[in-house]
Symmetry: C2
Subunit: 495 residues, 2 copies
């Protein structure tokens, strides 16, 4: 296919904002291109007004970095770019520089399937300024979306209380990869299967699906349609019962279920895709039970999300399997995560690393400076707090204070020696070489399940969740304060 | 890159819901696979509570259909699929059938850049049931998303009242293609440029961008950063002024503007990316004017959408160029269009076409039956009404009555002879062969502009728009009523 063929042939190095290239050029012109910097990718607020976020997308990032190379076609495109007066935007020598550019960054990142919290780095990139900048946009594109969907999926699965959730959002997803990457992330977040056959093929996700209303409508009667389907798939019949009249559809499903049974087969269940799901599922359950089909499953779909599922659960709807599409794969109530990628340190001419903050009128928007990482403390398998700390800072096992990055009055004293700890950023690339063994998708999904399990359920509550404690280690807090105050005085011209 | 490489190598024929394949198999088993059918792709409600929708995505659909073929790798994937008891899901003979499957459908569609309304077909597919079903999901995926974004872009450009709107949503878009397809659709909808360099390269969209906060932060002072940027791009300086303190940033931009001017160059303008845009733009305008830079543009960004732009306009904000990202490329306030694809006719064994409706408790959800198309009537270049009609129905030039598909009390009498008319569905494929010359992206964008121009501005109003009249031609209305009543009686067992 043309679109994907062009994509493949050109590498994805141009999948970036144009200003990354103009900055790269300007860095190069001003002799700063090889100056080393550290950037952190993080978000400031959980999506969906929730209490947790589930990291995803790293596999794509690794793939992107492994293939980070300006190809001939990329350079030809840049070569013919003209500015308003018709002169080339980029000097030929710069394009030659890009041609020889090798990916040499260090990348540290939280593994896919890790629960993450605001202001804590998800990806840290250390390397020459130019490379750091060129990576900004693709990394954000990949991580923002997959993390968003994995989190949405985790919320929906939480609401379904362990019952299977089938993802079938392809038809409403935002583009081809918007569908594929969403299926992948939804599986990480706990979904059981996808309807997207290509996602099944590419990622090894189980695929599921039976038939649509059009199947029923292509026959003279619903009975004929059910019977024909049962002939084709005697072992896998889930009958869609709401094409004409839902309860009549259940009756017809039962009739065909009886025919199947007379042949030694058992129908799997029915699906309801419209109407009042609480009412119809309860009625259908009753009919199925009375007819001797207590094991027939009831699959429900129709614009479901975590809130509707929770509401149906609270009404004792007799639903066993949840089909979720649009609301999941587009993260309908908040379709973007809003993670950012900020400079946190730069190496000066004298070889000294200088920590950096971007000042803002909103303290929520001030980043964490320096070379930092995050430790998670666990007690008996449960996560109790995250500490963001400077990597060269010694941590006193007898006691640390962590301070909320936004509200400095919120503090917590911890005795690290009491806890198990996990350092969240793991080395992924060292000098441009991959040093990380990519887990399989099944392993990532298992990690997500175990990470979610380590969270107290109050943090997973769909509405008004309990805030999980994340703080800056004291010294990092003081460094940040100092830098902010210095920057504010300096730039207001008050010093 | 692995993901895109796998995509390209496998063709996109598996980019479909699994139930399309199980239905295909069951059609094939029951001898109905070659039975001919007509499906229509349409939506039921304008997105964003708006009064119009702008069609986009057809180019991808044509590409998809041109490459509709089961490749070896696709078939191998299907071959090893097992059901619960370990037997193959699909018989070998069915996979052989798929292997030889040739695309033979007729496709008629509205051209990209056409304004479209609810219930009117956007794409009509006529062909063997199996092919029609396999196309359903990819067509919906492609058309739903690009139409959604083109419409959002048209709304945003309407709010900007002809001032340039730059799209820079890549970092928050839903996946790689979620970004690329969005840039394309945004350009169709009237945006001036994209930040996405790969979209520039693939589609020939102008790209734009200057520098980020990180550029400023990588220098000791903002002045140094501006000066270095001016050295690299003396003719294209747009200075981002809000890294530390916005108005101080404007002062620094003016200083560097003066330095540039002393060298015979002129700065293009400044960009403000945070804070109160109405306040800061007005202040900055005043400062720039007083300093002798009345032509310096003020670019504004920061989570803009059509409503915020309209509000800034109403406050006389001194903004000349609008940078729009997240809210545009994810269609933030409604991230899915919800178009559907419904069977409207099927050819019986006797060769007779039988019109079909899917009945629903909500009359909003009942589709239009039969082989229908839409005529748009224009008066002096302005669109006055759309009529959905049966293609074999003769239309009396002296008078027709069109009836609202949802509220049958809303009717309109038209005298076709008074108007220019345009038939909206154009032939795209005939027996699987392309019969349509694809327009260039520039032509599509021009068509969109002229189509939007043909709409009365009251239909484009952002809030509570005036409803454009779209109705079923009388005979089609009666056919639909008859089918619905018949289906309801029949399935309630009342006949």
């Amino acid at each position: 296919m043309k679109i994907t063929k062009d994509l493949y042939q050109s590498s994805l190095v141009l999948l970036t904002d144009f200003y990354q290239l103009t900055m790269a050029y300007a860095y190069w012109k001003s002799g700063k291109g090889e100056q080393e910097a550290v950037f952190n990718l993080f978000f400031r607020k959980h999506p969906f007004q929730g209490g947790f976020t589930l990291a995803a997308g790293l596999d794509y990032v690794v793939d992107f970095c492994n293939n980070f190379k300006f190809e001939k076609a990329d350079l030809e495109y840049l070569e013919v770019m003209k500015d308003k007066d018709g002169s080339p935007v980029f000097e030929a020598a710069f394009l030659e520089y890009l041609q020889t550019l090798q990916f040499t960054c260090d990348i540290d990142a939280v593994e896919e399937g890790t629960v993450v919290f605001p202001n804590s780095p998800m990806v840290r990139v250390k390397g020459p300024l130019i490379q750091c900048q060129l990576l900004e946009t693709p990394l954000l594109n990949i991580i923002n979306f997959q993390t968003l969907i994995a989190t949405k999926a985790a919320r929906i699965n939480f609401a379904a209380q362990g019952e299977p959730v089938l993802e079938f959002g392809l038809r409403r997803a935002q583009g081809i990869d918007g569908a594929l990457a969403a299926s992948r992330a939804a599986y990480i977040g706990g979904c059981t299967s996808t309807s997207n056959v290509m996602a099944g093929k590419l990622f090894g996700i189980p695929v599921a699906g039976t038939h649509a209303h059009s199947w029923i409508m292509s026959f003279e009667t619903e009975m004929e349609a059910f019977e024909a389907y049962a002939d084709a798939f005697p072992d896998q019949c889930v009958f869609l019962v709401d094409t004409y009249d839902t309860l009549n559809g259940v009756k017809n499903a039962i009739r065909v279920g009886e025919i199947l049974r007379s042949k030694g087969k058992e129908m799997v269940g029915i699906r309801i895709d419209s109407g009042d799901l609480a009412y119809y599922s309860t009625k259908a359950r009753q009919m199925l039970d009375e007819a001797g089909f207590p094991n027939a499953k009831i699959v429900a779909s129709n614009d479901l999300d975590e809130h509707i599922i929770a509401s149906l659960k609270s009404q004792d709807a007799a639903i066993n399997v949840w089909g979720v599409g649009t609301k999941l794969v587009t993260a309908y109530d908040q379709p973007a995560l809003g993670a950012v990628y900020k400079l946190s340190a730069i190496k000066n001419a004298d070889g000294h690393w200088e920590p950096k903050v971007k000042v803002s009128q909103q303290s929520l928007k001030i980043n964490v400076p320096g070379f930092h990482n995050t430790k998670r403390y666990y007690s008996k398998g449960k996560a109790v707090a995250d500490m963001i700390y400077l990597e060269d800072q010694e941590i006193n096992p007898k006691g640390v204070v962590i301070i909320d990055p936004v509200d400095a009055t919120r503090r917590k004293r911890l005795m690290p020696a009491f806890y198990q700890e996990e350092i969240l950023l793991k080395p992924i690339f060292k000098n441009g070489k991959k040093v990380y063994k990519l887990p399989t998708l099944a392993e990532i999904r298992a990690r997500a399940a175990s990470q979610l399990d380590s969270l107290d359920k109050t943090h997973m509550r769909l509405v008004n969740p309990h805030l999980y404690p994340v703080g800056l280690e004291e010294n990092l807090h003081h460094l940040r304060m100092e830098l902010v105050l210095k920057a504010k005085k300096f730039d207001n011209g008050e010093d």
